[in-house]
Symmetry: C2
Subunit: 215 residues, 2 copies
DNA sequence: ACTTGTCCTGTCATGCCGTCAGCTTACCGA
DNA sequence: TCGGTAAGCTGACGGCATGACAGGACAAGT
């Protein structure tokens, strides 16, 4: 578990190498935002980074491998999403605020990383465990917190026993992720951002507490 | 808008041609189920279909083009999903049943076509209008019906005015689609199919009617 | 058998993939 | 200052996918 960055052939990367590596990752990230995943070629990334394909292969086994690196970085940042849920109240007006802020924070995060998250989502759906793990890592931070919230409410008798906390939390998080990924879609649909968020927050509140929020 | 099947170079396809074309589509569908989208190559599809790459290019501009064909076919079948919602009651026990059957039907459909739906989802998320349109076509059948249901309940004063029917319906459908796409994921999570469905149904019921169901 | 139009494939130029040997650059100790 | 050593980069190459074309195989009607 060393933080050592290594090349494919086992060398330790120095300052210069790390810079090149990072530049390649940055360029790959940009490419993913601007062109379909399927059409992202190693040679294009290398060109954009002002280097050669051979250099790319020195640091990553293939495009997928590099994507995983970017995703891993993002996952670290995603751990901060826990803040949106843990230690917050789900009662009364505070509960409604929690819902709103969760939705807001989640959508922001997704919008910020949408290109890479699309690919992670695809990989996970295709059954690739590495991508699946990363998706977990990001979503778990929120899902676990939500699961705990439901469990606690359940123990107080405020939520039906029939509710499965993990399933409920997972479903809500999946909803947020999916809606976030298709935000543009909703716009074409005639639903505006501003209208979407309260409805999502409402659903979250309903799902967690089983009750309508007091605004 | 003729139903005429044409080759890339404008000829009309005859019986034999259509058969080959269909075989290519079938094989492509299988390939998508078994290997990552990014790695599906024309040559593999052609080999699997017992023909040559050149033949493939006679009927489709590229892999993406062929995928669109499959998706279009699926979209037609997807129109039948309307049945799961339209004309159903959302009151009392019948309401709960409606929710359950919607979830059940939706998950089934998604599981049946998961490989191709993954790709459609990706294309739509990447902003490709052609894929987006197809995704709409499938989801609209359900979303519109749900939107109507909410509107009707609203007009009867049974649902808050603040709810935006389209946003609510869209969010719920997005949730169903996303959960369906990651069903395997939930399993690894420790949530079983059987537990997942009732929770989804509960969320749907809560979202549409704003009330807990009577079971 | 002959004609016609559909259908398939051999072949080719082009371009990307992934690897290697070998060159250049940076660092370090003597 | 001067090698020595390891890091860093690239040109070049065999291999494979792409996409275009022209010509041959095939089915159906006459």
């Amino acid at each position: 578990m060393t933080g050592q960055v290594r090349t494919v052939d086992g060398r330790v990367a120095g300052r210069r190498g790390q810079a090149t590596r990072q530049k390649l990752l940055d360029c790959l990230g940009e490419m993913l935002s601007s062109s379909p995943y399927r059409d992202v070629k190693v040679i294009d990334v290398a060109r954009k980074a002002g280097t050669s394909p051979a250099t790319f292969y020195q640091y990553f086994p293939d495009v997928e491998g590099a994507v995983l690196e970017i995703a891993e970085e993002m996952a670290k940042e995603g751990a901060g999403l826990t803040e949106l849920v843990s230690g917050r109240s789900w009662v009364g007006k505070a509960g409604w605020q929690t819902s709103e802020e969760l939705v807001e924070g989640f959508l922001d995060f997704w919008r910020k990383h949408d290109a890479i998250l699309r690919v992670v989502d695809l990989g996970a759906a295709e059954g690739d465990k590495r991508f699946y793990k990363i998706r977990m890592k990001i979503l778990n931070s929120v899902t676990n917190s939500l699961t705990d919230a439901v469990k606690e409410l359940q123990s107080k008798g405020k939520v039906d026993k029939e509710v499965n906390p993990a399933a409920m939390a997972g479903s809500l998080v999946a909803m947020l992720a999916s809606v976030a990924g298709h935000q543009k879609g909703f716009q074409t649909w005639g639903v505006k951002q501003a209208e979407l968020k309260p409805n999502l927050a409402l659903l979250v509140h309903l799902g967690i507490t089983g009750k309508k929020p007091t605004r």
